[in-house]
Symmetry: C2
Subunit: 340 residues, 2 copies
């Protein structure tokens, strides 16, 4: 039992039940075109009675567009992306859309595959934390609305919701400089993306503004996106430059690696070393000392992304690109203090 093909009621069934034509059913249920109020009620009742659920695929085929939105992120296990997706989904759902979520693991191939999928599904838009500019271009060529989230790849055109990475990094660096630090190391993984580039620029700008000379050797580039790599980079840096008094980790994964290395070496934070990070994720407020961070209010960030997309779908098709800048905010906790 239970198995087999379930013949689900169609619009024609509703039509029969209500004694009208299929097109009237469509109009009555969708509120498009004219329908006599009395008829509309009858159709609604009939539909409810037989449990009619309009077939989304038929509708999308006919309309050449669906109520689906593609969301393409790097890593759902990273709370930054998970929160972003959570914010997006919340707004989409409230607006009657649903989210196709694809993880690309920071891999351009996978990203391109997902673009194919989204094109095939005729999603009405895509929100993407881009890895390669090809995907974004490809999306556009397919006539799909795209909102770039968190960073931009290549093209500077089109809708985007971005954090002000330069300002965020300045906030942190200023904070550290203001405490009296002069040897502040930056741990960063990439500077090809707008996020990394901006954070590096902010770090530089803050030094410049304060008139503090910057030692380029204190900028450490991690090669991978794993916390373990960041731990190694931290070890190396601390070994080579024992005079460093503060560490600035450019994202939450790097911060994790740095924190672990610091714990392993039993370095007293903030007495011997201050630590600050970009992006506030839960563990940073759970550990002692709590980590000073720049938060981007990630869930709201995601909401903004969805709002920008929805706005574009609501007729603003040929409007100017919307660029939203999310203000980063410094959260001072106990991991930063004046140098000894």
């Amino acid at each position: 039992m239970s198995g087999g093909v379930v013949r689900r009621p169609t619009g024609a069934d509703v039509a029969r039940e209500a004694g009208v034509s299929p097109s009237t059913v469509s109009r009555a249920l969708n509120g498009t075109g004219y329908t006599a109020p009395e008829v509309r009620e009858r159709v609604r009742a009939a539909a409810a009675r037989i449990g009619y659920i309009p077939d989304a695929n038929a509708r999308s085929l006919r309309n050449r567009s669906s109520r689906s939105v593609g969301v393409l992120i790097s890593d759902l296990r990273n709370p930054f992306y998970a929160d972003l997706a959570a914010g997006i989904e919340q707004v989409l759902r409230a607006a009657g859309y649903h989210m196709i979520l694809v993880n690309d693991d920071g891999n351009a191939e996978e990203e391109l595959l997902a673009v194919q999928t989204f094109a095939a599904m005729r999603v009405s838009g895509v929100i993407i934390t881009p890895v390669s500019s090809r995907s974004v271009k490809s999306l556009r060529e397919h006539g799909i609305n795209v909102v770039q989230a968190d960073r931009r790849a290549g093209t500077r055109h089109g809708d985007a919701v971005l954090g002000d990475n330069e300002q965020g990094a300045e906030l942190i660096t200023e904070h550290l400089l203001g405490l009296g630090h002069r040897r502040i190391a930056l741990l960063i993984d990439e500077t090809k993306w707008t996020t990394g580039a901006g954070r590096l620029a902010g770090y530089r700008a803050a030094h410049e503004a304060a008139g503090v000379p910057l030692d380029e050797k204190l900028i450490s580039f991690t090669t991978s996106f794993e916390a373990e790599a960041a731990r190694g980079a931290t070890a190396e840096l601390l070994g080579a430059h024992p005079d460093v008094t503060a560490l600035f980790a450019a994202n939450n994964v790097i911060a994790q690696g740095a924190f672990q290395e610091i714990q392993r070496r039993r370095i007293a934070v903030p007495r011997k070393l201050s630590l600050a990070a970009y992006d506030d994720v839960p563990w940073m407020s759970m550990v002692r000392p709590g980590i000073t961070t720049v938060t981007q209010h990630t869930v709201s960030f995601g909401k903004r992304c969805a709002e920008v997309l929805l706005n574009r779908l609501d007729g603003a098709a040929e409007q100017e690109p919307t660029i939203v800048h999310v203000q980063p905010e410094l959260v001072v906790r106990a991991s930063t203090a004046p140098p000894r």
Copy 2:
């Protein structure tokens, strides 16, 4: 520019390009039915040349089923669910399916709405951490394959991937009893779901097995799913029962609240109080002392869910239900030690 409707190539276009009929295109590209190898190549080349992407909606309409799988979870911001979804997505993607992710916030209404959506989309299956049994029933009535993940609502039928909550709770409780604790409090939020009920049962069973009398007053029920509520419950419990030497938090959110309250009161862990939790999430290994937990290997857990569903889709339509039990594993860290 860029705007307007993009006329995407259809199978007919490919047919024209390759000098064959549309049906041959379909056969050649899908590998169904007979096609001359030479023709197949020609069609493939033509398709690639003009950038043909089969319309997923048309295909789903025709096939009465899509390559979409609905995933319905409680809260993407909770790392447990995020990891679960990450595991599911990874396996689905590798198998050529995609994930429609819906958050129900533990709300039965939202859950039911999502069921409607999934039915409308003709998803080929749904993986759900159920809130209400109605949704699961409704899904079945629509002839949709469902895999219940982590817990079951009402019905004991059908495919499911479940943690052995009773055993996991026993593992923790035994561990604490073995250390010599006799006054172990349990912080739990619900016991209507199979997860909560199982964990409570395991806590009881371990006491029984050890011949240690259990004080029912040490079982504290949180009313909400927020960490803050758990913090309050912890405060109350600690106030009422200062002789408690160990705390067992039944999930990661409760553990967070408990941990925060413990920090606030500056209670020495594990010297004055031991703390253990169900489900291992990142902050638990970052804080000092690290929290002793039972891990369910959540990402793999998610993978198993997807595998069970895929297996069902692969012809096992009328097969016996698959029930997978995921073995919990005790991870002993520094938050548990013999009572003072």
